[in-house]
């Protein structure tokens, strides 16, 4: 089969490009350690979230030094808890599930973004920096009120976080 020399050159360049793309993604995974939302969490009964230890009371919990877990329920049309308050300079793992249809969980303008599927739990871990308020939106069409489904993720100072946690318990 006759292939022109220029076309062979282009074929080689194309393969190099593909390797660059796959290489970049691999670098992102092993260098900065970007991990994909995956099948780490077992399936869950979407109709039985009220009896679930984590999701019957959606909340943020401290689980170690500078380590927190946020249990979040997405539903038509909102998120619980709202706002999700987490402390600065910490490592936060979100466990997000849905009680009804497929939703999205996107902290606007950041890389924290995952699908939320009923019957599954999405687990993503992020590291927070300085205090900042982020918008939280559902980015998967979920029904007639999809556009009003929003929440907040507030990264606050350690002091403010502790105050809120204890304040919450006092109520």
């Amino acid at each position: 089969m006759h292939i022109h020399a220029y076309e062979k050159l282009w074929l080689a360049a194309s393969i190099l490009l593909i390797l660059l793309l796959i290489g970049s993604v691999t670098y992102g995974a092993v260098g900065p350690g970007v991990a994909m939302v995956s099948d780490t969490e077992p399936a869950i009964d979407a109709g039985g979230l009220d009896e679930d230890e984590r999701f019957s009371e959606p909340r943020v919990e401290q689980v170690g030094e500078n380590e927190y877990e946020a249990y979040v329920v997405a539903y038509q049309f909102g998120f619980e808890p709202d706002p999700i308050v987490v402390p600065e300079n910490s490592r936060v793992t979100f466990y997000v599930t849905s009680r009804d249809v497929i939703h999205g969980f996107e902290v606007a303008g950041t890389n924290a973004n995952t699908m939320v599927v009923p019957g599954e739990v999405s687990e993503i871990t992020v590291e927070t920096d300085e205090p900042q308020e982020y918008g939280l939106i559902c980015n998967e069409y979920c029904g007639a009120g999809h556009h009003v489904m929003e929440g907040k993720v507030n990264v606050v100072s350690q002091a403010e976080f502790e105050e809120q946690q204890s304040g919450g318990e006092d109520e």
Partner: protein, 58 residues
């Protein structure tokens, strides 16, 4: 119309010297495209994406 592709065309049908057609202009254009692709990718992956808040690490 019809049958043309099955008509076993030979190069001389095209006119002399066409076998040696070198698409140098195409190579130039596509080289420029390649450069744009690589630079845009490096920017969007390493600066835009990895530089954002809340990188998912687990």
């Amino acid at each position: 119309m019809g049958q043309n592709e099955t008509a076993h065309p030979s190069a001389d049908e095209v006119g002399g010297g066409d076998e040696e057609f070198d698409p140098i202009g195409t190579l130039t254009l596509i080289g420029i495209y390649f450069a744009i692709l690589v630079l845009s990718w490096l920017f969007i992956y390493y600066i835009e994406f990895l530089g954002r808040d809340l990188v998912v690490v687990g």
